[in-house]
């Protein structure tokens, strides 16, 4: 395949027309990452507490 074929030129043309990829998207991704981490930690904490309570109740 040619290095700069017409399909890849088309991609560049589209970027030229519509502008570069937004930089702020990354902030949202990081916010999502924080959200997922928080959810993950909450689940972990809950599971831990649940197991401890379960062991206590069942001796």
């Amino acid at each position: 395949m040619r290095n700069k074929n017409n399909f890849r030129q088309l991609e560049n043309l589209k970027i030229k027309k519509h502008g570069e990829a937004p930089k702020k998207v990354l902030d949202n991704i990081e916010q999502n990452l924080v959200f997922f981490k928080t959810i993950g930690q909450t689940i972990e904490l809950f599971t831990d507490k649940f197991i401890k309570t379960f062991i206590k109740m069942n001796g």
């Binding site: 395949m1 040619r2 074929n5 017409n6 399909f7 890849r8 030129q9 088309l10 991609e11 560049n12 043309l13 589209k14 970027i15 027309k17 519509h18 502008g19 570069e20 990829a21 937004p22 998207v25 990354l26 949202n28 991704i29 990081e30 999502n32 990452l33 997922f36």
Partner: protein, 177 residues
């Protein structure tokens, strides 16, 4: 990539984003033809990359892996919009053989189409044909990668590409010659 996989430090993910976001965005624009949808898709794709990065096994190039997520995501978006129907039989019914000389000739003809004309032609062929052509010629995905992405056999994918090339060339002749 390895640094991010090992440390999960967002600084390295920032670098990955800066390196690849422009190409991914361009691919989204080519597939979706809509700026707002492409921006949303870009965010969703990088979120998928972020959540699945531990599954990346270095068997393919990182860019190829990201591009296959990109095309898959765009196909899903288009499918949800109701514009795309991947009929099962379309990829599995072909039993005829592909003539290698014809394929080379068609490829040459396809790659000669002027970029502005190509834009018009790609918008006038069915979206599934546009998708396979973009995967192959813009994303640089191999037949094997396309097989696993589309969940089709090698011969079905090759025939899908051949059909798409034929439609593209025919449309180009109709519109510009």
């Amino acid at each position: 990539m390895k640094k991010y996989q090992n440390s999960s430090n967002t600084k390295y993910f920032d670098i990955l984003y800066q390196r690849h976001s422009s190409k991914v965005y361009g691919k989204c624009l080519s597939m979706l033809n809509n700026e707002t949808m492409s921006k949303d898709a870009l965010q969703d794709i990088f979120l998928k990359v972020l959540l699945n990065i531990s599954k990346f096994n270095f068997k393919s190039k990182f860019t190829t892996w990201v591009y296959s997520i990109t095309y898959n995501h765009c196909i899903d978006v288009i499918r949800k919009e109701g514009k795309l129907k991947f009929e099962k039989e379309e990829y599995s019914m072909y039993s005829e053989k592909i003539d290698t000389n014809d394929a080379i000739h068609e490829e040459e003809e396809l790659l000669k189409i002027k970029v502005h004309n190509l834009e018009v032609v790609l918008d006038s062929i069915p979206i599934k044909d546009k998708a396979v052509l973009l995967m192959k010629y813009q994303g640089g995905l191999s037949i094997k990668e396309m097989c696993s992405m589309l969940n089709k056999s090698e011969s079905a994918v090759k025939m899908g590409i051949k059909r798409a090339k034929e439609k593209c060339i025919r449309k180009h002749k109709e519109l510009f010659k």
